[in-house]
């Protein structure tokens, strides 16, 4: 009987129920899109922010302490004779930490001073685009070119295999009147070396005053085979919170549960800690300006999405409320009759809620599918890539449907509770 009554009501008031389903579908589609984008926006924004460079620096432990204490450039004390280096052979270990998949790019540096004619210049050895095989069997490509995609390069980018071909910063190239294809000689304590300008680049930073060469060349010239001074790392990270800040100060201060939560979250401090675990001679320092900006932008974007979702659902609940109230008013004689027949308020409320929930979930299912489409539209329009469909959104959407249905039904329920059969049954 209950089923027949529900079915009958749904068929009889189908135009009104279609409107309710449409309203739910609209609200839920936007909520689905917002939630999927919100959960995926971390990776998306992080990917976007990777264009602003590395967010971690790996330096040898001793040199790091010196530069921290005296607030000097990390390269300075190394060149001044601190003689602290990292081993190039250790670098693939960076891709073997727990958060290996979050390591987007990294590149090592070995910087020496050379003379061009009588003038001094910085020659920096690095990986341009190095391919190597991880112990897991996966191949990985990294280097300064993918790490700094905003460099404006005129000519051929550097090649790790062609040792004497270098990339020259624009200011230095102008100073020495160098163009792609030109050759010049650099002089060090260990002798002379003829180099060819593969390209001139503009970075907008101090790199414009430097020469970038294959790491192996600089190691040969300086006699520091297999050594690097520092490594820049670009990693996808989760915005820091109180737990991460405490962990960054002293991981041993955390309880075992807190430590597990911190270690298994892609906080920059957790990633740094894990790199230090695999390369004990290294100290990893976060570039907090970048990390904080990422976190701040991410949090604000997510907050905006959450607010939009809330407002959309509020609007849906209000619209649903009007439609359900109109439906109940239209059925007041029927509800009065049920009460006259002995139906209690609870059984009538359950009947109405059941009807509305069927409609709401039907609309919600349509809205969810449409929302996935909207999310992809947003992903391709804003981030030029697809938005991952997150499973967690489904239970959230179910809960949201129930909440907006319940909230939207409240005024109607209030009306039906106060409805007296004597007021509607006598003509």
């Amino acid at each position: 009987m209950f089923r027949k009554m529900v079915k009958g009501a749904l068929v009889r008031q189908k135009s009104k129920f279609i409107m309710i389903a449409f309203t739910v579908a609209l609200g839920i589609s936007l909520a689905t899109a917002m939630l999927n984008v919100m959960f995926d926006v971390g990776d998306k924004v992080n990917q976007e922010l990777k264009a602003y460079g590395a967010n971690m620096n790996i330096v040898p432990r001793g040199s790091s302490l010196l530069s921290d204490l005296y607030e000097v450039d990390e390269n300075y004390d190394i060149q001044a004779g601190a003689e602290k280096f990292l081993k190039e052979e250790d670098l693939p270990k960076i891709k073997m930490i727990f958060w290996a998949n979050n390591i987007v790019d990294f590149t090592p540096y070995l910087q020496i001073q050379v003379k061009i004619g009588q003038e001094k210049a910085d020659l920096v050895g690095t990986w341009f685009e190095k391919n190597f095989k991880l112990p897991t069997g996966d191949e990985f490509s990294t280097g300064i070119l993918p790490l700094k995609p905003w460099w404006d390069i005129d000519g051929q980018p550097g090649d790790d295999e062609i040792l004497n071909k270098v990339m020259v910063g624009k200011e230095l190239a102008e100073h020495f009147n160098l163009k792609p294809g030109d050759s010049f000689t650099v002089v060090t304590d260990r002798g002379e070396r003829s180099l060819t300008v593969g390209s001139v680049f503009q970075s907008g930073g101090r790199e414009d005053e430097q020469i970038y060469a294959p790491l192996q060349l600089v190691q040969n010239i300086s006699g520091k085979e297999g050594l690097v001074q520092r490594v820049e790392v670009s990693a996808l990270t989760t915005p820091e919170n109180e737990l991460a800040r405490r962990a960054a100060q002293d991981p041993n201060s955390l309880s075992s549960l807190e430590r597990d939560a911190w270690y298994c979250t892609a906080y920059i401090s957790a990633i740094a800690y894990q790199i230090e675990e695999v390369i004990p001679e290294a100290r990893v320092k976060a570039v907090w300006q970048v990390a904080d900006s990422e976190g701040s932008i991410l949090q604000k974007t997510q907050l905006l999405m959450l607010l939009l979702t809330f407002l959309i659902l509020l609007c849906s609940a209000l619209a649903i409320s009007n439609l359900i109230t109109a439906s109940v008013m239209e059925r007041s004689a029927e509800i009065g009759l049920m009460k006259a027949m002995g139906a209690g308020n609870i059984s009538i409320t359950l009947l109405i809620l059941y009807e509305i929930l069927i409609i709401a979930f039907s609309g919600g299912a349509i809205g969810y599918c449409a929302g996935i489409g909207f999310a992809q539209l947003i992903g391709h329009t804003v981030f030029a890539s697809a938005v991952a469909v997150k499973g967690i959104v489904i239970p959230l959407i179910i809960i949201l449907i129930m909440i907006i249905t319940f909230l939207g039904s409240l005024p109607a329920i209030r009306i039906l509770l106060s409805l007296r059969p004597s007021e509607v049954l006598h003509g």
């Binding site: 009987m1 027949k4 027949m341 007296r420 049954l425 006598h426």
Partner: protein
């Protein structure tokens, strides 16, 4: 044995005195008609007798139980178990068949029993119309479905509000004949009507004027 007793019942809506000091006793198996012009308090009285409203003052006894101060939920239970309601406008659920409309009263009373519901429809001469929707039935047939629905839970009291008000003469006769049969079988019937011909069937007629009983015939 008295099934219903109203003692000095008054109902006041703001400044309007819908009923004033009404006294009435209805015995088991009695047929009572309540008459009066529009605004005389007939509907108010029916609502109070039918446990759909409470009096402002006075006391009401149903089966010797004082139900004056009961909550609306308790009154709903008493109405469901004791009273069968027949309405002038039938109030059938439009998307349920005649049979389902009768079964709905069973559903809210106890458990549904299709055979019993068909029997109730047969009793009002509508067994062949059981699967018809209300819109497929004539006014008289709809009223008979309404009566079958009122009877399905074996009420002690049948309360009918202008049961023939929307019917032509032929159907009026059919419905009144049904009431007569029910009365002959021992049912207690209270009919609210403005039609003297309907009232003639009753054993006792109460005439209301301005919320007071002006005459008992």
């Amino acid at each position: 044995m008295d099934i219903l007793e109203l003692n000095n019942i008054s109902k006041i809506y703001g400044s309007v005195k819908a009923l004033q000091n009404v006294n009435l006793t209805v015995t088991q198996g009695e047929w009572v008609a309540i008459m009066g012009p529009s605004g005389s308090g007939k509907t108010t009285m029916m609502n109070i007798i039918g446990c759909m409203d409470r009096p402002s003052s006075g006391e009401i006894y149903l089966n010797s139980k004082n139900i004056t101060r009961l909550s609306l939920a308790d009154l709903t239970t008493i109405r469901r178990d004791t009273i069968g309601l027949v309405f002038q406008q039938f109030h059938l659920i439009s998307y349920l068949t005649a049979l389902e409309n009768v079964m709905m009263a069973q559903y809210y009373h106890s458990i549904i029993d299709e055979a019993e519901a068909i029997q109730a429809l047969a009793r009002v001469g509508l067994s062949d119309r059981a699967q018809h929707l209300p819109r497929q039935l004539s006014g008289g047939e709809q009223q008979r479905v309404c009566i079958a629905r009122a009877l399905i839970n074996y009420p002690q009291l049948i309360l009918a509000d202008e049961p023939t008000g929307n019917l032509d003469e032929v159907n009026e006769a059919v419905v009144l004949d049904l009431f007569k049969q029910l009365h002959d079988e021992g049912s207690t019937i209270i009919v609210v009507t403005h039609d003297p011909e309907v009232a003639e069937y009753a054993q006792k007629t109460i005439v209301l004027e301005h919320g007071r009983i002006s005459k008992i015939m």
